[in-house]
């Protein structure tokens, strides 16, 4: 094994080019995701929700991720074990943005948790999106389970697990590396770490001996790589390589994406814009403008359209009822599905 490669946008740009239509689609989804997160933050600040947490700043990586998913229910399709920063992935998979707004407002109509859980804690069995929970590590312990079932089933469905850099300190991350890489029993698991270099208020420096988190894959013979997750082109290329490998080889892949945390950890530390962080959307828009794919006016129009539309959805959600108190007793045990 060689050292995991750091793929820069310059290198990635030499790879297979993204079609213009695809770039326009990615741009629109990134804008939509950003506008959604900014609306969620605003809802929190206006008292239309108790708590905000999400993924603004990860769109350049999370949108391409969502676009590559084999979406559906059951072992033939990709399984998802996410942390709470994957809204852009969910939108890229085709989700209606009203649903995260409902979860923010904890309405009875929230399809992910019926008003029971924080925003960003998605669950959608129809698309194999397993319930997201607040502990930042448990998904790494569960993910090998779905991947074991997929390996046994055959086909090309894979499991995708995401988490942050701070969470890799937990034992569950080691569990994930150990269980996915057992010799002769490797499983089709795409292990993603979005590294924003923060654990709430604690910087990456000072808590890690490893230079890159992807270095940890080497000890387990897991193909590993670090990518500039603020760059759409680099992310697209790296994800394509990772997806292709995991789908075909039925083996794990560790992909670390360096990303930004644009609005801090959560509403607990203010949810204010951190101008010192790289903004992947700005960077992408400069590129699109430079290449002559979209004009500033066109991009502004996209943002206006989504701002208006999501504002309207947020107004609608405000009128929706909260769950009834007696509903706490529902679904302690399985009732045969969502009703």
């Amino acid at each position: 094994m060689t050292r995991p490669k750091l793929v820069t946008s310059k290198e990635a740009a030499q790879g297979p080019a993204l079609e213009p239509e695809r770039l326009v689609q990615i741009h629109e989804l990134m804008v939509k995701a950003r506008v959604l997160e900014e609306r969620l933050i605003q809802m929190y600040k206006q008292g239309h929700g108790y708590f905000w947490i999400g993924g603004p700043g990860e769109e350049a990586f999370n949108v391409p991720l969502g676009l590559m998913v084999k979406k559906g229910q059951g072992l033939e399709y990709d399984f998802h074990h996410w942390h709470y920063r994957n809204s852009a992935t969910l939108l890229a998979m085709g989700e209606d943005p009203i649903n995260p707004l409902r979860q923010m407002k904890n309405t009875a109509s929230d399809p992910y948790s019926g008003g029971r859980n924080f925003v960003g804690h998605f669950s959608k069995r129809e698309w194999n999106i397993c319930p997201v929970s607040s502990p930042i590590e448990v998904q790494y312990s569960m993910a090998p389970g779905t991947a074991i079932a997929q390996k046994r089933h055959g086909g090309d469905g894979i499991t995708i697990v995401t988490g942050g850099d701070a969470g890799t300190a937990e034992g569950d991350f080691a569990t994930c590396l150990v269980w996915s890489s057992r010799k002769g029993q490797e499983v089709p698991l795409l292990i993603i770490v979005t590294n924003n270099r923060w654990g709430i208020s604690t910087p990456y420096e000072g808590q890690h001996g490893e230079e890159r988190i992807s270095d940890r894959g080497r000890a387990f013979n897991i193909r590993s790589r670090t990518v500039d997750g603020n760059d759409v082109f680099a992310s697209w290329e790296a994800l394509q390589e990772a997806f292709t490998y995991v789908r075909a080889e039925r083996k794990p892949y560790l992909l670390e994406a360096n990303v930004s945390r644009l609005y801090g950890h959560s509403s607990a530390d203010g949810a204010n814009l951190h101008g010192e962080e790289v903004d992947c959307l700005k960077r992408f828009e400069e590129k699109l403008q430079g290449e002559g794919l979209l004009t500033r006016e066109q991009m502004d129009a996209v943002r206006r359209r989504w701002t208006d539309e999501i504002a309207e959805l947020a107004r609608r959600v405000r009128e929706e009822p909260l769950p009834a108190p007696e509903s706490i007793w529902r679904h302690v045990y399985w009732e045969g599905g969502k009703r």
Binding site: D110, P135, M142, G145, A149, D172, V178, W179, K338
Partner: protein, 353 residues
């Protein structure tokens, strides 16, 4: 008669053949060992996992999310404590997703004292586990119940915690498991792997024709009828309660003994009916006595049956000390033994309003 370990093994065999169980796994669960207490020998879906309890429970959750039916084993309950947040997660996956996901999984971990297991092979888990909603929790005290509860557990669409008392794993029952041959030696020859150093790689079990005999979850069993007082117990202390009650009968005390079998959701009707008759209740188990499950039963008895009570409900449980010491006098002093139960029965019987 089969031992409890053989009963569990036969139930798991029945479940992998007939109930869709896909994976029986954990540390040393697969060949060659087939479980530290032989409960998983010869099973076609049994496999060995890394020595990683969080990985075991996590994989069970993942397998269940993927529509499989796993039975995961944690070798001793003393080692399940580092998975508690995953057990909580398994218990809340359905509720948190507002009914979108369910987890058809069983976690089996042996509990309790009785093999001189010292600090890390003697503890109980029922007090902690009954604090985690979203699970069914069962503890058998006979091989037949062990079989029937495992069959029911493997049919469940929700997580089930299956807690066999290790002191009873090698004990034989009084009632046969439907399908088992009458002769113990014959049963052993059919389903027990040859002991080391024999080469087990060529061994295959010959399973008897088993049935889907079930013990319904949530149903207690009155194992001894009586009219003076009620003893509610489960697991290792259950047979001790029965023996103590038999002995008390010679002193003219008529004790009813209830084997709870399922701790959650528990059979309140059975307790209620018995206490209405006797007016006196003694809860016996071996987990530590502070915030003990028996305390919950007593709280409910006091709240709901107060005017039917003829004496304060009593709890006989493990001492609230950090461990169970290895030396015989230490273990005997830490968790209820038959003479302790006999004394508690006599004392409760002597109480008058």
């Amino acid at each position: 008669m089969a031992t409890m370990a053989q009963a569990i093994r036969m139930a798991l065999h029945y479940a992998e053949e007939n109930l869709g169980v896909t994976d029986v796994f954990g540390e040393d669960v697969g060949p060659p060992l087939g479980g530290a207490f032989t409960a998983t020998q010869g099973l076609k879906t049994a496999w060995n996992s890394p020595l990683d309890e969080r990985g075991i429970v996590g994989a069970a959750i993942g397998l269940a999310l993927a529509g499989q039916r796993p039975v995961a084993e944690i070798q001793f309950c003393d080692y399940i404590y580092n998975t508690i947040d995953l057990l909580k997660l398994a218990g809340n996956a359905c509720w948190s997703s507002n009914g979108d996901w369910n987890l058809p999984m069983v976690v089996m971990t042996i509990v309790g004292s009785g093999i001189r297991g010292s600090v890390y092979h003697s503890h109980s888990f029922d007090a902690t586990m009954t604090h985690i909603p979203g699970w069914f929790i069962v503890m058998p005290s006979t091989p037949l119940d062990a079989y029937g509860l495992m069959v029911s557990a493997c049919k469940q669409d929700n997580p089930v915690m299956y807690l066999p008392p290790k002191a009873l794993l090698r004990a034989r029952g009084e009632e046969p498991i439907p399908g088992e041959p009458g002769d113990d030696k014959q049963l052993s020859k059919l389903i027990d792997a040859p002991p080391p150093p024999a080469d087990r790689s060529k061994w295959t079990p010959q399973w008897p024709a088993l049935t889907g005999y079930e013990v319904p979850l949530g149903k207690a069993k009155v194992v001894r009828e009586g009219k003076d007082l009620t003893v509610v117990s489960y697991g290792r202390t259950l047979p001790l309660c029965r023996k103590a009650a038999d002995a008390a009968a010679e002193e003219g005390i008529s004790a009813e003994v209830i084997d709870l079998r399922t701790l959650w959701p528990y059979d309140w009707e059975a307790i209620q009916a018995s206490v209405a008759k006797t007016g006196k209740v003694l809860c016996v188990n071996e987990d530590t006595e502070v915030t003990n499950f028996g305390e919950h039963l007593i709280r409910r008895a006091v709240s709901e049956l107060f005017y039917q009570l003829l004496a304060p409900p009593q709890l006989l449980a493990g001492k609230f000390v950090p461990g169970i010491g290895l030396a015989d006098p230490l273990e005997m002093a830490s968790v209820p033994q038959q003479p302790d139960i006999a004394r508690a029965i006599r004392e409760l019987h002597a109480m008058e309003p």
